[in-house]
Symmetry: C2
Subunit: 227 residues, 2 copies
């Protein structure tokens, strides 16, 4: 048996995929409690920021996507900055919910790693527009807004690292360089939002499964016999 | 011996780092043949696009970073689009040079993989501003410019996949899913440009070494005995 054998064959892919899908179903694109007009405006702002960047977007560009007047937008949001903050805070909160849900939902660190990589990858594919804006536009926030978002970003990173650190401590995972390894794993998942194409060869589910197999190669240290 | 042993210990880290550094030294930030004013304007445009995005940047913003008037900019570049195209084309050409240089410089596929991951990671850390704009702003190009850049992007992807495919064919590398595996490996390297902080805990060299060890875990199939 070669290292190659550490792929899906061992990890009950359907069971992980089902649990991951269940976890993501509890994390909708926008909070359900929002009224419909608020949803509509946030979605138009998101699409505009994704297409033109925060600095390249005007409230007029955003209102065009809603069918409302720019004046009507002000009933719901104070400014373009306010819209970016709502999107950034919400997007980071959902990402954190996915990460913490997976980290806490694992029966052991290797299982938590599977669930985390599957769910976080799939989320970045399914919600690629939100995820892209969340990861790339938060630096345009005002400093008091940045403080809120950075606190959420810190918790996402901490939760990610904790799964690897727990596994390293228990001997189930083999992590050579905790900081570099968690950066690489986060990058694999997060960068999906940059390149994912719904018309392309992967489904979000298929990509999640493929990345779980890769993550197990990186960190699962169960000894293997030579082939 | 565990999978953990597939790290730096086997791969002569200093030799790979030295060859990677040599490769990158031949890929300067801007072509040497450019006159100084052209350098100055391209650098200001790059910094402005990185900070505000293409759509959020004006020629006035860019000229502010050069000490030249906006009128003086027009002597060298026809438009903001022209500046983005110069930066995008050049940046993709350099990235391709790094990737093809590594792919062709390897003594065998595993060695090419080491050299590729080291050099491409280090380039994204050292030239993080150029690399970020290259990866994220090219979609703002006009369609005839996009065609040029997409051709270069295609060659980068092909060259990356060819290293993994050659290794899989020769049996030196073990690649479970060529498309997904090369996407994940590209993402690990490319996403460095988003988060790399020159003040942070990693040097570009240290990060390159750490990522080579991870890439070997992913794809090197040399059989190991159980520990």
């Amino acid at each position: 048996m070669s290292i190659a054998a550490y792929g899906w064959s061992d990890v009950e892919p359907d069971a992980i995929a089902e649990r991951g899908q269940h976890l993501l179903a509890a994390c909708p694109l926008w909070p359900i409690k929002f009224p419909a007009t608020r949803h509509l405006i946030l979605q138009a702002a998101l699409d505009t920021f994704a297409a033109r960047g925060y600095h390249g977007s005007t409230l007029k560009d955003i209102s065009r996507g809603t069918g409302l007047s720019t004046a009507a937008l002000y009933v719901h949001f104070a400014s373009k900055q306010d819209l970016l903050f709502e999107i950034s805070r919400h997007g980071h909160e959902v990402a954190l919910e996915v990460v913490e849900g997976a980290a806490e939902g694992g029966t052991d660190p290797a299982d938590a790693l599977d669930l985390l990589v599957y769910s976080f990858t799939r989320w970045h594919a399914e919600q690629h527009t939100l995820a892209y804006v969340v990861q790339h536009e938060w630096t345009a926030l005002d400093s008091h807004h940045i403080a809120v978002v950075q606190q959420l970003r810190g918790r996402i990173q901490t939760s990610f690292r904790a799964v690897l650190a727990d596994g390293a401590n228990s001997g189930e995972l083999d992590v050579p360089d905790l900081r570099g390894a968690s950066a690489a794993l986060l990058s694999m998942c997060i960068d999906v939002a940059r390149w994912f194409d719904p018309e392309g060869p992967y489904t979000p589910d298929g990509l999640g499964r493929s990345y779980v197999a890769l993550a197990r190669r990186l960190f699962v240290s169960t000894p293997v016999a030579s082939r």
